[in-house]
């Protein structure tokens, strides 16, 4: 069953996170007024993206960019039509009409730009069709793209507080790493300012404190941390309020400790209902 919603409520970066962590394969269709885009994923990584106004075969795209001649494009298309289960991108590589690195570079640049433009959408319907594959002639990258990289770059283009505040409601919140952040950062290239903030994350300092220590504005720190957060590198938590203590030394707000025998009685009662 497709996942449906509006990116006003569940942002593109949130969805990319879900696709990544859920190792999803399928297509995310986005639509807004007369604009439409489709992002195809394989096991959580982006393989291609198309927009309604620019939905062309990989050969046409490469001809347009001067990487292929029309004759070579026709040759590849002809060979592709005689083969089953192979993408046109793969045929181009098999025929050695373009190098793997070059094909990756050209397609990645094209696809990234298509995706980054979508980050500016404040609203738009989305529908994720599980298992849906792109047309074999689509500009499919030889090496699928990790979405953390897309999230970070997409978030760099966010210049409004509104979206950031949804996840970071206050600069009094504390930033902490989630499990193995170093592993997660492998696919991400951080800019200098992002490193400055990254290096200050210690699970104790608030966003306001990080801003003060780095000399950056609170907005800039929040925007950068929003990117880390969306890419799943960090978590943002409320600074724990001081817990009032009882005379016994037990925290007032601690959840009551119950006896196992009491819990067993409740379990047995509910089982029997």
């Amino acid at each position: 069953m497709p996942l449906v919603g509006n990116i006003r409520d569940f942002g593109l970066s949130d969805f990319l996170y879900l696709v990544d962590r859920g190792y999803k394969t399928g297509c995310l269709h986005l639509s807004r007024a007369d604009e439409m885009a489709s992002l195809y994923f394989d096991k959580g990584k982006l393989i291609t993206a198309t927009r309604k106004d620019d939905n062309v075969p990989v050969t046409e795209l490469l001809v347009r960019k001067g990487k292929l001649t029309p004759v070579q494009a026709a040759q590849a298309t002809q060979v592709h039509q005689s083969q089953n289960g192979v993408t046109l991108s793969q045929v181009l590589l098999n025929l050695e009409l373009i190098g793997r690195d070059e094909l990756q570079r050209v397609l990645q640049q094209h696809i990234e730009e298509a995706v980054y433009a979508l980050f500016s959408w404040n609203e738009g319907e989305f529908r994720f069709e599980q298992g849906q594959r792109p047309d074999p002639t689509a500009p499919i990258m030889p090496t699928p793209l990790a979405v953390e990289h897309l999230i970070m770059e997409g978030v760099r283009r966010i210049d409004e507080w509104g979206r950031i505040r949804d996840r970071i409601p206050s600069t009094d919140m504390v930033v902490k790493f989630i499990e193995q952040p170093v592993e997660r950062t492998k696919g991400i290239n951080l800019a200098a300012d992002e490193w400055r903030v990254f290096a200050r994350i210690n699970g104790k300092d608030t966003l306001a404190e990080i801003a003060r220590k780095t000399g950056m504005s609170e907005f800039e720190v929040c925007r950068i941390v929003y990117g880390f957060l969306t890419a799943g590198l960090v978590d943002v938590i409320r600074k724990p309020a001081p817990v009032p203590m009882l005379a016994t030394g037990r925290p007032l707000a601690e959840a009551p400790r119950v006896k196992k025998s009491l819990v067993t009685r409740i379990i047995n009662r509910i089982r029997g209902m």
Binding site: F10, G22, R238, A255, R257
Partner: protein
């Protein structure tokens, strides 16, 4: 007579009232009344709306189920209801991603006060377009040790399963 309390929370229309109705032994009490001085944080004009259900465990023990008001204007009730609770069920309408942020806000609220045992119930799993529990876990960014359970609040077995899973979490933290 000893009473213990569980709290059922979630965004508006997540299915809290239905959840309690399905399992409660008494007619669920849904209240809407002027606030009293009992609740210091409440403004004079504020009204209180919540659900209340009850399950008798034995002659000397009763389980109370409190459904928190979903509307933001009743936030203040959450703190009051959470005092002394045994555990918490966070209900999510699996078909409405527009409520996920609010759900996160509710979880953040309860967890910022105390380490309460809780589970997340992915309600309305019988509806088309329902997000699966695993998808909800990712959407809500819940850690792997938090149980996200399929749920249909109108189905007694489903509600029982959610409560039993919560009790399992509570059991792990209980003392001999």
């Amino acid at each position: 007579m000893q009473t213990v309390k569980m709290v059922i929370s979630g965004a508006v229309n997540a299915g809290k009232t239905e959840f309690i109705k399905t399992i409660s032994e008494i007619e669920v009490v849904s209240t809407e009344r002027p606030a009293t001085d009992d609740t210091r944080l409440i403004k004079k004009e504020t009204t209180v709306a919540m659900d209340f259900g009850r399950i008798a465990i034995g002659d000397d023990l009763v389980l109370h189920l409190f459904g928190t008001p979903g509307q933001k204007r009743f936030d203040f009730m959450w703190e009051i209801l959470s005092e002394g609770m045994l555990g918490l069920v966070i209900l999510v309408d699996s078909t409405r991603p527009e409520t996920f942020r609010e759900t996160n806000r509710i979880i953040d609220f309860f967890m910022s006060y105390r380490e309460t045992p809780y589970v997340v119930a992915a309600n309305k799993q019988d509806r088309p377009n329902a997000w699966s529990p695993e998808e909800l876990r990712l959407a809500l960014r819940l850690p792997s040790h938090i149980k996200v359970l399929p749920c249909m609040a109108t189905d007694r077995e489903s509600v029982k399963n959610v409560l039993l899973e919560l009790l399992d979490v509570i059991m792990q933290r209980s003392e001999d």
